[in-house]
Symmetry: C2
Subunit: 197 residues, 2 copies
Amino acid sequence: MTLLLDTATQDLLFREARTANTFTEEPVTDEQVQEIYDLVKYAPTAFNQQPLRVVLVRSAEGRERLVRHMADGNKPKTSTAPLVAILAADNEFHEELPTVLPSFPQAKDVIFGERPVREQSAALNAALQVGYFIIGVRAAGLAAGPMTGFDAEGLNKEFFADGEHSVLAVVNIGKPGENAWYPRNPRLEYDQVVTTV
Amino acid sequence: MTLLLDTATQDLLFREARTANTFTEEPVTDEQVQEIYDLVKYAPTAFNQQPLRVVLVRSAEGRERLVRHMADGNKPKTSTAPLVAILAADNEFHEELPTVLPSFPQAKDVIFGERPVREQSAALNAALQVGYFIIGVRAAGLAAGPMTGFDAEGLNKEFFADGEHSVLAVVNIGKPGENAWYPRNPRLEYDQVVTTV
């Protein structure tokens, strides 16, 4: 046994945690989201670029604008989850580098001067942060329902008028409701995933 | 306080965990990697696609083949870390869907029949899994040193002759050595990242 996490924490974050498809009406507060963010913000990104941006959808009007871009199968749960978060990559993250990477402020132009380089880096690193965020939601005792079934271009335009953001995932957040889970799907075995050279 | 993790676990996984740049000589065993994998494999991916593939570099010859594709600044630590893992997206992950998604085996062809769709999905979901893997390394009491500075096309060809894999990150793994850390870089504030509609 090499893991330092106790079994309850392993279960909370990974083994018993499940993607929820229904939720109770218990609200998710801004304070909860801030605690989640203030924990997972420390996880690493390349050049400390932190490209993830989060839009919390709280108003009825915002919910309506969101749901119409979701795939049909995702509309009911996106309509009813206590909180929905839009997770996007900021393709202009490099503007912050002089502040967040004080040891190498020139990275803003030397490494990330070209938009295609930024887009590729933001997509990878914001996706890492989506993974951290999902773990953080679970660490707060909440269930996450991450979804990628949506009209990405529609969502980008709807919520990021600047044209500089790419939505990667939309995540329902709340306490799991009735029949929240599908049966657990099989995971690949170690030997199917890991090889050694 | 809404987080269910105790402070020591928050520190272990996020707050005190740091990207290591030097390592002790203490080996990292296959058993440790298997425990990490068998924990983080439960974290979610879209359609349970699990596109991450891992190559552990253990032989001197494998290390030499790896290091020559790394950026110069990453060569010394990649040469000396106790274990280096190459993390890649398998762009043919859909072949496993009939097994790992028994409720919707047709997804293999209906959703993922076209290579560009698979590549985009594998890149996002394998990146989520890179994030989970880094958290798992930390859960095992080890330090991760994730790197994206390498010749990606060179690594793809060197370690995946089938042409079906895209390397996303290379991660040094071990116990932190002397002067392992750079100073902690600033994180973006909540209000810089999270907005509400």
